[in-house]
């Protein structure tokens, strides 16, 4: 599984990354967490507001710092 954190690297992006790492750790799953900081790459995914979270290439959330539990829900396949 690939989890992408899209954002410029600001505090909120870092917080989302932290929550994603905690979520992955809590679920005990194998997941690669990748930061996408390049604006062109972010725009190519159609993301207009950051931070955003994508799982296996599908954008699940934009413009929000998801909580750890919200990330867990997405990792479990929730919408």
């Amino acid at each position: 599984m690939k989890v992408q954190i899209l954002g410029s690297g600001c505090t909120k992006c870092k917080l989302l990354e932290q929550h994603a790492r905690e979520a992955v750790s809590e679920l005990g799953i194998q997941a690669e967490i990748v930061k996408v900081m390049d604006t062109d790459a972010i725009m190519e995914m159609g993301v207009m507001m950051t931070p955003a979270l994508a799982i296996d290439g599908e954008v699940k959330s934009v413009g929000k710092v998801l909580t750890k539990d919200q990330v867990i829900s997405y990792l479990k396949g929730g919408k």
Binding site: M45, G46, M48, M49, A52, S61, G63
Partner: protein, 127 residues
């Protein structure tokens, strides 16, 4: 990227145009480009919403306002948003003294319609 980023509380306006084949679609496209150039919001891709591209759909879901410009009352843009279950504001070029298949699209017409739509967008901002 939209003016507001990194989870700020400011208003994020995304603009879309139908860009259909008729003169009215062309007008919608040109008015959209002018509105984006003039800083009325960020341009976004209507086709990507229709195609269900997740990043665009999620961005529309979280935008403060989605402003859809359609050329005519076939309203493909509005129907795409309805199908996707997304909220939107709707402006139709034929509501601005433009006749589908007849009115020539000139620079003056683009300016005039953009001005009228811009003022309606700003009125809603104040409301």
């Amino acid at each position: 990227m939209a003016g507001c980023s990194c989870g700020g509380d400011c208003e994020v306006k995304l603009l879309y145009a139908c860009s259909g084949m008729a003169n009215t679609g062309m007008l919608a496209d040109q008015v959209w480009r002018k509105l984006v150039r003039d800083g009325n919001g960020s341009g976004a891709c209507l086709a990507a919403i229709g195609a269900g591209i997740s990043g665009y759909v999620q961005s529309a879901q979280n935008a403060t306002r989605n402003i859809v410009l359609d050329g005519c009352m076939v309203a493909c843009g509005a129907k795409i948003f309805e199908k996707a279950g997304l909220p939107y504001e709707h402006y139709v070029m034929t509501d601005y003294d433009v006749e589908k298949g007849k009115t020539p699209i000139t620079g003056d017409l683009i300016e005039a319609v953009a001005k009228r739509v811009e003022s309606l967008i700003n009125e809603r901002t104040k409301a």
